[in-house]
Symmetry: C2
């Protein structure tokens, strides 16, 4: 019997590659998309297509509007940072304004509930400590702390029926390495999106931090980028 694993699937490039890696390991994938009050809510459609193409056993979409309790450039109305305000060269030097309070704690808590309900042990999350070293909840020490919390917080953990683990297979990879992995595994990158501030549904601005990291990643990987950017190519 294949082991069930919950994969946090945002519809972005990293989570799509993470799901492909879980499938490659032979897991029965239960994809979980949390639709929080972010600007690009249309991304759920891409997530649905990705889950279906990549053979997820089940895909759940959970609406959760945290915009009233978590203030950030991604959930609120403050401008998304662009080149002048936060050049790529400054990544890692400060926590970006796109930080969403307690986001990965919330996502992992919900994934944990489903993992325990399924009788599984693994949660896959596409966090990455290289390109986004500024986020406190993308660091290996945070994930390790959540893992030990998970085993104290749950019936299955306390009773010793499950040993929960948080799997973050991309954590030490660069964006170009992630893209090469996805390419190797046949991920359809045209269904993934990265833009923080899309000018239209399913479009990409080409100039936000996330677009710039993505473009540079494809260039470095030497793999064609199927994204159409508003801001040239």
């Amino acid at each position: 019997m294949t082991r069930p694993a919950v994969v946090l699937l945002s519809g972005g490039l990293d989570s799509a590659v993470t799901m492909a890696l879980a499938r490659e390991e032979g897991r029965s994938v239960y994809a979980l998309t949390i639709l929080y009050g972010q600007r690009h809510a249309w991304e759920v459609e891409a997530a649905r297509k990705l889950a279906s193409r990549q053979g997820a056993a089940l895909h759940r979409v959970l609406p959760l509007d945290i915009s009233s309790i978590a203030v950030s450039a991604l959930t609120g109305h403050s401008p998304v940072p662009r080149e002048a305000a936060s050049p790529v060269t400054e990544r890692g030097q400060a926590i970006p304004s796109t930080y969403v309070p307690a986001r990965n704690t919330i996502l992992l808590a919900l994934a944990l509930a489903w993992t325990e309900s399924l009788g599984g042990e693994e949660i896959f999350i596409g966090v990455n400590a290289v390109d986004y070293s500024g986020y406190p909840d993308c660091r290996p020490e945070f994930l390790a702390a959540f893992e030990s919390l998970a085993n104290m917080a749950t019936k299955a953990g306390v009773e010793g029926k499950s040993i929960f683990s948080v799997r973050a297979p991309l954590i030490q990879l660069s964006k170009s390495q992630i893209i090469r992995e996805g390419h190797r595994l046949g991920v359809d990158f045209s269904l993934t999106h990265s833009c923080y501030d899309p000018p239209a549904p399913a479009a990409a601005c080409g100039s936000c931090d996330s677009c710039r990291i993505r473009r540079e990643g494809f260039r470095q990987a030497g793999i064609p980028d199927p994204t159409r950017y508003a801001n040239g190519s």
Copy 2:
């Protein structure tokens, strides 16, 4: 300036007393009600009245239907345990079927997001280790683990701007002690409810574990119980 604190307010007796204790300590209370897919969703109205009566600065209600990812007697369709299945005398000997996977982890994660957004440091939660010792996520060691996670997971924690703490003032109190505290602080118990399986909106069955603990608590405290139970008194 009064310090902001987030209080997790279910509308039950324990959370109402917890909110009163936070107010007594001089906190500016931001009450957070998570409306998850439980059976007694009407309890949000009681929570609104309690927040208003007890002088909360703000009350947010966040719908979060976890019934599709967290299987439990409280969120699913399995019967709520009654006397024959789980006598009061067996409390603490096993984890009750009313356990909801990762519930307090989810609630605390959401409260943490709001606390950080408000520039606060404290989360108040009405968990209790005496009457509900069976729940893994009501234990002091779980709360301590969450507290240390909170300080690693957040921008304010990592930057040293805030030191987050989880306050559980009821954790070592018996139900009758909690009721005496609430009485002393003027909590309107008629607005609180405890029933796991109300026979009608705002009613109480009188025979579920939660009703039985509540009735016995009022009896031991020597304080009149304003609840009308379907099952006699």
